[in-house]
């Protein structure tokens, strides 16, 4: 129990101090075996474990799976607006955590809503 807490604390400290991508990258282009044996990607969930650096990120979950929303309708502007950026763009899955099947439905619903002027194509609604 005590050990776990200590490790977690250490992980927090290291993640704050140095950016994971900064350490390995400079040596990259010089290596002859480029493309193979890449260091684990810093961004991936749980990727911090193998790299020796420990930092914790809350696992993102699909809103539609969790709240059991199955009907993604183009008329439901308040729901769709949560997945549209300020600029009017559809927010990518890697940022929102929506699962693939739901993202597919979501994006088509957003596009339909855009077509009938419920959501903007670009920019804030004015």
């Amino acid at each position: 129990m005590a050990e776990e807490i200590r490790v977690a604390a250490a992980g927090e400290g290291s993640s704050g101090g140095e950016r994971p991508s900064g350490g390995d990258r400079p040596s990259g282009p010089d290596r002859s075996d480029r493309g193979e044996r890449r260091p684990p990607r810093p961004g991936g969930p749980g990727g911090g474990r193998e790299g020796g650096r420990k930092y914790f990120r809350r696992k993102k979950v699909c809103k539609f799976c969790v709240e059991k929303i199955e009907a993604i309708n183009y008329k439901d502007v308040r729901l769709l607006a949560q997945f549209v950026a300020e600029s009017g763009k559809i927010v990518p899955r890697r940022l929102t955590g929506v699962c693939t099947p739901h993202q597919r439905r979501l994006s088509s619903a957003i596009k339909q809503a855009r077509n009938i002027a419920l959501l903007p194509f670009a920019g804030r609604a004015s």
Binding site: K68, A117, L118
Partner: protein
């Protein structure tokens, strides 16, 4: 042909109530004359448009749910296109999506009925662990 469609269209914001009703009734007669059925008509009221359409910033949204074949939709869309106060419209087929939703709902209901047993066991287990 029992397909159902949703026609959402926007009319100009200065269109009065009677004219909207007249437009809707002409569309309804068009639907019934070509063998379709009007399921519901909904006036969603005036809304701000997300972008400018034909120099309008606002519009009155109307929603028509119909049942019928593709020919009917073709005719309705043609009518909407030539009707001057209609500034935008969209047709969405809804029966397949509805079928999918019903299926999911049925599965969920079935699942909810069957397993009322496990929680008691799980509770006992956690109690043992904490003790």
């Amino acid at each position: 042909m029992n397909r159902s469609y949703e026609l959402m269209f926007i009319v100009r914001p200065d269109m009065v109530e009677e004219e909207q009703d007249k437009l809707i009734s002409t569309l309804e007669t068009a639907v019934t004359s070509s063998g379709g059925k009007v399921k519901s008509v909904e006036k969603m009221g005036k809304r701000r448009l997300a972008y400018m359409v034909r120099r309008f910033h606002d519009g009155i949204y109307l929603l028509l749910t119909v049942e019928g074949g593709g020919g009917l939709i073709h005719e309705l869309e043609r009518r909407l296109r030539v009707t001057e106060p209609v500034i935008k419209f969209i047709t969405v087929r809804i029966d397949e999506e509805q079928k999918r939703l019903d299926k999911i709902k049925a599965i969920r209901d079935a699942r909810r009925k069957t397993p009322p047993a496990p929680p008691a066991e799980a509770g006992g287990e956690t109690a043992a662990v904490t003790a």
